[in-house]
Symmetry: C2
Subunit: 214 residues, 2 copies
Amino acid sequence: MPTSAEDLALLDVDMVLTRAAERLADRFAGVFGFETIDRHVHESYVALFRTAKIRRHLPALAEHFAADRLNALAHAKGAIISPVPQVLFLCVANAGRSQMAAALLSHYAAGKVVVRSAGSQPAAEIEEPVEPLLTELGVIMPDAYPKPLTDDVVRAADVVITLGCGDACPVLPGKRYYDWAIDDPAGRPEDVVRRIRDEINAKVRALVAELVPS
Amino acid sequence: MPTSAEDLALLDVDMVLTRAAERLADRFAGVFGFETIDRHVHESYVALFRTAKIRRHLPALAEHFAADRLNALAHAKGAIISPVPQVLFLCVANAGRSQMAAALLSHYAAGKVVVRSAGSQPAAEIEEPVEPLLTELGVIMPDAYPKPLTDDVVRAADVVITLGCGDACPVLPGKRYYDWAIDDPAGRPEDVVRRIRDEINAKVRALVAELVPS
């Protein structure tokens, strides 16, 4: 049972999240009510808490996740007009394939596509070899962490690409759906993961050519 | 890519969910704005969709899940005053242990405790032997389905009981936390699951004696 010193520390996390909600309320003034924003922040926190292994930065990640979800929702309801296509990559763990695809597309599209990724059953952390293998290509993945699929990001997407998670994404009308058959890199040796990275890379380059006519 | 006939069928699911949100908006009038309710319904749907195997009843389950979450939230913010304690059982899959504990506590407490359960990584369906083993004790489990832990149900709980999922539940001040060391029944033979059921049953009976003084 929490002592009162622990109680204070715990209240602190809740207060940090509430302050995050207040910041986002300024940013989304006139788009969403405070209740919606506050719920997004707190539910994003618990959604990440459920599966994350390292929890030190969780309030900051929750704010980032909530902000991205609110952006998606604002776009879906037409409150934010974005002239660039929005792409959502989805795999089971959001720790390997969908993370690589998202980082590569962000890199090549250079702001001309909004890119998101999610998992049907997010892992505790990103697969070990993913970041160094992307660095080999000069691609960085800032702010990357496994996160569960949510309604708001499906709703915002113009293109949904599943990588080996079957039909784990609800199909909404008016979107394009692709399924890329790519092996799961989880726990595989580095040369196998490099081959998977190259497969994803080739598909992402073709997608960029389709979405961003030069 | 969806044809227009498919488009219409898909729009239908979305409309069913929106109608569910309208029903809940009547029920929670003056407590929550429509935006909050609509988000709860749609996000509850996707949260169940992510992991559920059988999807035929998913819109109805999503309405049930959203209603329960909104009840929890209303209680947490003091908009609904409940004189009885609220207990949350949590395990990894919300498919065996936490489901048995919740069904048994509901049965013995007979309305004198509000009981919920959730999982950190919900399974596709409830473990096969669980329902017949509870029926042996005259206990039924209507409306039972694996579902992810959410902020609202943690917030509403007076007592949180984890069964073998470690610290997968954020700790909020002012609540009682118990950890019951119970083996995972997933995939075990029926006699092992029966022994696990009996262990949970004994602990639940002791909890009832504590929470509901006769």
